[in-house]
Structures are given as C-alpha cells and as structure tokens.
C-alpha cells in the first residue's frame, strides 16, 4: 500500500530515466560503439616527440610553444631526441597533420574538448578548400 503512490512513482520514474541518461543516450543516437580514428600522416616516421608523449601531453607542448614564440620570440624547438623544429602550429604541426577535421577534431569532438587554438590560427585545410 502506498500513499500518494502515483505522484511519488511518477517522480521516481522521471528520476530513473534522467539518471540512466548515459545508458540510453548513445544507444538512441546509435553511436555506442563509436571510436575516434585520427588519420595519421602517411610517409612520416615520427612526430616531434614520441607518440605516447604527444597523446597525453600535446597540449602542454603547444602551450610551451605559444609562450616561447609569443612571449620570448624563440622560434626553434629542440626535441628530446635532439632534432630541431620550427615552432609553428600552422607550419610544423599542420605541415604533416594537414587536415584538422580528420586529425584534431576526431578526439577533441569525442571527449568534448574545445581548444582555443583556432580562435587565432587558421585551419589551412579549409583555406585550401579540403576541410569542412
């Protein structure tokens, strides 16, 4: 026997539907099995640092690069393996990873990361007419 049962059960059902949102949302979107596939540049052996380092800490590196160029005027980066690279998002990064939509956006969209690189930098694949 429940008192005010209909009201309480209605509230309970609404809560249960809301709280199980993650369980049904992606399923409704038919995207439960979605895995991002960043397209790696062909013909390139390695990035400026190791793949593990880049995967976890590329944002740190880019932040250091920005500070080095904008605040200190340094334009050369010496990597841990001793190679020298020009510090440039458009020149160096996008030189290999030429398509933002197929590389950067894959993971960034997946985890809802919205970096502010592109507030200033131009997406060269768009200016070349290749990107979206």
């Amino acid at each position: 026997m429940m008192y005010d049962g209909s009201k309480i059960l209605l509230g309970l059902v609404i809560f249960l539907i809301a709280v199980t949102f993650p369980f049904w949302f992606s399923w409704v979107n038919e995207k439960s099995g979605f895995v991002p596939e960043p397209k790696l540049p062909e013909g390139e052996e390695s990035c400026v640092e190791s793949a593990e380092y880049m995967k976890a800490l590329h944002m740190d590196l880019l932040n250091q690069w920005r500070n080095a160029v904008v605040r200190d005027g340094r334009r050369v980066y010496v990597s841990s393996s001793g190679n020298r690279y020009e510090i440039s998002l458009t020149g160096t990064c996008l030189g290999c990873h030429s398509n933002k939509a197929e590389f950067c956006d894959q993971c960034h969209d997946y985890v809802g990361a919205n970096p502010f690189c592109w507030d200033c930098h131009v997406d060269t694949s768009v200016s070349r007419g290749e990107g979206k």
Binding site: P22, S26, N29, K31, F34, Y110
Partner: protein
C-alpha cells in the same frame, strides 16, 4: 576519533584501488565489475528507500509552519511559509530544493563575552557553503557527461565553456573544480572548528566529506597534473554503458582511484545521509499543504476503538459516587 576513523577508511579505499590495479592488475574488477555493482545498488537501493517511504502513512498534515495560516479572507496569509494548497507547496518545495531556504533561515545563538546577554543572529555560512557545494557538484556531474555520451550533449559543452571562461592553462581550469574543493573543505572545517557541531558529528558525517575531497582532489590531479589519456577514459566509460567493458591497463592508476572512490560514493549513497537527495522531496513537514482546518483528513488505519464515555462511567458507578459525595450529572 570520528574524524580519524573516516579518514583512515578513505585512505584505505585509496590504497585498495592502487594496490588492486598496480599489483593485482584487477582492471576489469575496478573498471567494470565494481561500477556495475555500485550502479545496481544505487538504482535498487534508491527505489527501495523511496518506495518504503511511500508506504509510510501520513494521515494528517504535519508541515512546519513559518508564517500566518490561511484563515479568514481579510487576514493576510503567508502562502510560501504556510502553504494551504498545491501551488504554495510547489513554491515552497522549489525554494527548498533549489535554494535551500531552510538553511537560509539558519540562526545562531551566542552568549556574548563579558556580558550575560544571549544574542541571536543570522548565520548564512552553512547556507552559502551548501549552495556552493551542491551547485558546483551539479556542474561537475553534467560536465562529466562528456565521458558517458556520444555525441557530447550541448548542455555539457555550454557549461564547459562557461566554467572555463577565463581560459587559464591547458587544459583550461574549471572554476567549479576549485569551488567544489573549497566548499567541501569548508563543510569539513565547520564540523571541526565549532565544538558544538563537532560534538554531534559522527563518522557518517565525516566519511562522505573525505570521500568527496578524495574524488575532487584526484579529479583535479588527473586533469592538470597527471593528464590521463581522456580518449582511453571515454572508451572505458562507453564500454561500460554499452555492456561491453574493456580492460584499460594504460590509464594512470590515479584514474582508477578516482573511479573507485566514485564507485564507493554511488554504492554508499542510498544507505546513508546522502539519500536526502530523494528524501527532501518526501519530507512530510515540508511537502504537505497546511489545510488541516479546511479539509477533514481521515486516518487510513482508523480502528473502531472501544471507548468508555463519561456517561457510561457515571451510569456504572453512580451509586458509589453519590455514596462518597462525588457530584454527578444525573441524580
């Protein structure tokens, strides 16, 4: 002592996750089995609690009243503090649930140093701390949906944008992360500093605070210091949700500590004071309209009680009462 017990339990939980993952390699246990158990306990436990509350009869209207009751049309009644109908109750509940009005009314009683005067004053600190804690927790919860839904909901993206408005650091610092830690620290310090509050604080009060502090700290560390592979985290989350869990040994062990503490929180939720999330809606002292004088409320378990009225009593003992000189109604 109560503080220490709760602290040791939380430290033990942290170590348990580290040992389990680092030495035991129990990725599936900590990454899938325990979260599933916790979610089942949470949903089942909460439903059980709510249904058991619903089964408790509330035959009469017992709201706590803080204003003039509705009576004659020319007496102004306080509709929110002493609601007489559903609309008033809805307003009262909304203020309680969304703005913690009863905490806002909190007052403090002090004996002034030097003089023997008792002083009453407002005390808004708990209200502010609670508001800060609950709302930052809500924002953090909604923000975390980026790990549990594909595509990421627009509300999550909107809140992320607002929360990281100042764009400090990469990844950007979210204001609510630190507001949350400050609020939980305040709620803890409040129990320690005031001797009165400390006296009535139990392990069940400290434990959730330490747990939340642990969750917040590991969360901030994972975002800003140890920087886990968030794509791997989302793959784990999505694997859980689509009932095809994956073992992710590459993730930082602190992530598993974070996940395990959240698992414990979820499982602990329905069986502790935290269930006030549901209970606040079912408080009869707040969700009932004060219409006791307008409407007749019949006790649902009214039983035909055998009564012995005075008339019957006098009928039975009249001679004896007259004999000893006790006045009777009917000679």
């Amino acid at each position: 002592m109560n503080v220490l017990v709760s602290f040791i339990i939380v430290i033990f939980l942290v170590l348990l996750a580290i040992v389990g993952v680092q030495l035991g390699g129990l990725y599936i246990l900590f990454g899938a089995v325990l979260p599933y158990v916790a979610i089942a306990l949470f949903l089942g436990g909460l439903t059980y609690r709510v249904v058991s509350w619903a089964r408790a009869p509330v035959p009469f209207r017992i709201p706590t009243t803080c204003g003039q009751q509705k009576s004659l049309p020319w007496i102004k009644s306080s509709r929110l503090d002493n609601p007489h109908d559903g609309v008033g109750v809805l307003g009262r509940m909304a203020l309680e649930v969304l703005l913690f009005r009863s905490l806002f009314r909190n007052s403090r009683t002090e004996l002034k140093e030097g003089s023997n005067k008792v002083v009453f004053g407002p005390d808004k600190w708990l209200w502010m701390g609670a508001l800060l804690f609950h709302y930052s927790f809500l924002v953090i919860f909604v923000r975390h949906m980026r790990f549990f839904s594909e595509h990421v909901p627009s509300l999550t993206l909107l809140l992320q944008g607002l929360d990281g408005f100042f764009q400090v650091g990469v990844p950007v610092v979210y204001m609510t992360s630190f507001m949350f830690l400050v609020a939980v620290t305040y709620l803890f310090a409040r129990r320690i500093i005031s001797p009165m509050v400390r006296y009535i604080s139990l392990p069940a009060d400290y434990f959730p605070l330490f747990l939340l502090l642990g969750i917040g700290t590991t969360g901030v560390l994972l975002r800003h210091i140890f920087k886990t592979d968030v794509v791997g985290v989302k793959e784990l989350g999505m694997g859980l949700l689509s009932f095809s869990p994956v073992a992710s040994p590459d993730l930082h062990y602190l992530f598993y500590v974070h996940l395990f503490l959240v698992t414990v929180l979820i499982a602990y939720f329905p069986f502790s004071k935290l269930v006030h999330m549901a209970g606040v809606f079912l408080s009869p002292t707040r969700n009932l309209a004060n219409n006791n004088r307008e409407r007749r409320h019949v006790n649902p378990w009214d039983y035909p009680v055998k009564v012995h009225t005075y008339q019957e009593y006098e009928e039975e003992f009249r001679d004896k009462m007259i004999k000893v000189g006790i006045p009777v109604e009917k000679e």
